[in-house]
Amino acid sequence: MLRYTGHPLYDVGVATITAFAGKRDPADLVESDLEAIATYMAREYVRQPLKSFLTVAFPNSGFTQPAFEKTPERRHAYAQSVLGAYGALPLDDETCIFTGEPAAAVIFKDRDDVPPGRAFRQHIPLLTGEGVINFHPYGDAGVPVSGTAMLALQALPLGSAKVGGRLLAVHSDNEEIIYHFAASFLEENRRLIQLAQAEGSTKMPEPRLSYRTLLIATLLNAQRMQREAVASEEPFSITAYHLTNSGQGADLSMYHLPSQVVSFLAEMFTAKYRGKWQTIVNRAWERPGRGAGEDFEPGRNYLYEDLFGLPDNARFFVRTYLLREAAQYARGRAQDPRGEYSLAEEAGMVSWDITERFLRRIMNVDKERIEQIRALGDRLAEYISSENDRGFFRGFFTEQRYPYFRNLLVKANLQSVRRGHPPLVTLEPYIQVFEEGDELAQADWRLARDLVLIRMVERLYEAGWLGQNRETLTELTTEAEATER
């Protein structure tokens, strides 16, 4: 009866109907399931709080049309045409663009001044209005839709979160995930609708979380994400549509989570990483600002928000969340915890295992280079702890000029050899980690340095050297920040 087709707004509607029926698979839906949700929408869409909220999704529709306030029969006729079309006769010559089935022989309006089977902006967000011929083949305004597709599209707002006065609809190439988001949002919406009605409010309450944090938090609740055997399952990506179809200004923002980011998150749920990862996540929650009461609950997780900038912001991500360096621009912003990150205080949170997976999954770094970075970090940590060479550690940590940085390594190398030890760094691994081509520093040499540092810090922490030299680390953190400024 219904199936997923890959069209985001339609698929979210299908998942919503399925969840409303208490089923998992749209193939299991029967006509009474469609009737049940149609009845629910016919009742709720014409009263508060959904009536006013639907102006975000379906402005000027029969549900929201102010002119219908005093003519409820017209509102009822409109509801009947769009919500009851799944049982209508098919058109012979028009095919639904979502399902490929015949379009419905129904005029989706209480008047007959538009062709049957055609949907417009008041039915589907971000289409053009009636009569507008732009973007349609041969100037035929509107798009043909089947009755079931129209019902699914009307269900879209119920399966989307209301965030920032807009709809947040989440789509994926994984049907279980489409269903998970729609079902979660539907459950919450029904709770909020009841709450608003009980309080006599005309406004649909909004969730506490910002839309990006909400998206990640909801994703992580999915069973699919919490299974241990993530490696054996098909990867999937996610696209979120944060939209308004409002008459005051339609708008749309799209947020992508490519499959490598989703897979990385799923992997962080496994036993090997979960403990340390959760600590890193917990330290990224928004803090109470001035004047916040005791009942303050954070609405934003900065790490979750920064996932959407990957891989472009990978260096920042590594430095801030994995190396625990304070984010300069977050300094002085009371609610942003990243301004207070401190390697001296949080060296125990540094994890090479997590970093290694980040490099593989997100940054697509090849195994050989990762191994070279790890091995270099091990050798340098061994050198620092055995020689207690604070000067080298200081320079490695703070140096911002590449030639100076290279000289530092050369000197440490000589020092090691003079003492009868093998060289710390040999040419090939050095080039692989820090350079590409002769004498040409990699554009991301600082990133490479940070990665080596992560391994070094982890090893020095485990060896107890950092514990004995905690003051040095505190000084270095301040010094590095001053140099960067």
């Binding site: 083949p137 190439d173 098909e234 339609a250 499959s259």
Partner: protein, 245 residues
């Protein structure tokens, strides 16, 4: 495999999501197959039979920008044009639309129709990709022999969605595959995997089956070599059929 290889370059382009029409036009990250069909048809000067035609591409750009363009939103009208006896058939208002665009796009297109070389050397219509004002220039047209290799890298392209498990990266996107001009430009959609950063196949992270045989990839031997691998080409058709790489 002997194919036609065409390099087309322009200043800007944009590939609008077909169902988002109002005020904001985000762009697909890669040109949809239906756009490629239109592009080839423009060079040939006619809608060609898509049966058996297969293409692969590499699409690169120097950045994205959000621009505001003025769109005259048109509706049918009646009456006469002011001060004349001419019938007024259309009327509209200028509306600002926000549109995402690519700067300095470069398409390297491979088509399994080497016999179309002359058409691309002398295209019938103005060369464009995306919007009609996004004019392009063919900077290279040649017939090349592709090779098969056990390893390849794929980047800045679309792959069959079935390859997601092998690639372990990318973004699934529903794109228009073909517009059926025989039936009022009825759209046909298909899900593809958009891969922008370089992914090497076989992938160390990808899933392996014991019974799986080493597969071969079509590669362009003239492309940049990366540790023994060349640019891999995933060929797609315009009709509903199995993909082949």
């Amino acid at each position: 495999m002997r194919v036609l290889k065409v390099v087309a370059e322009g200043l800007t382009t944009s590939f609008r999501y077909p169902l988002f029409m109002l005020q904001v036009h985000p762009t697909f990250l890669m040109p949809p197959p239906a756009t490629i069909y239109g592009h080839i048809s423009s060079a040939l000067g006619e809608w060609f039979d898509p049966e058996g035609v297969r293409f692969a591409y590499h699409f690169h750009h120097d950045g994205t920008v959000r621009d505001i363009e003025h769109v005259i939103v048109l509706s049918a009208s009646t009456g006469k044009l002011k001060g004349t006896d001419y019938p007024k058939v259309l009327e509209g208002n200028v509306n600002p639309f926000e549109r995402d665009m690519f700067f300095r796009p470069r398409l390297t297109l491979y088509v399994n129709r080497p016999e179309w070389e002359s058409a691309f050397r002398s295209p019938r219509y103005a060369v464009a990709l995306g919007r009609s004002q996004d004019l392009f220039t063919y900077t290279s047209i040649e017939v090349v022999e592709l090779e098969q290799a056990e390893c390849a890298y794929f980047e800045n392209t679309i792959l069959p969605h079935e390859m997601a498990i092998e690639v372990q990266r990318g973004l699934a996107v529903l794109m228009p595959r073909f517009l059926d001009y025989a039936h009022n430009r009825r759209p046909h959609f298909q899900q593809y995997l958009v891969v922008t950063d370089r992914v090497r196949l076989p992938n160390e992270e990808g899933r392996r089956f014991a019974q799986e045989q080493q597969r071969l990839y079509w590669v362009d031997p003239a492309s940049e070599e990366d540790d023994g691998a060349h640019l891999g080409l995933a060929f797609h058709g315009f009709l509903e059929e199995a993909h082949a790489t």
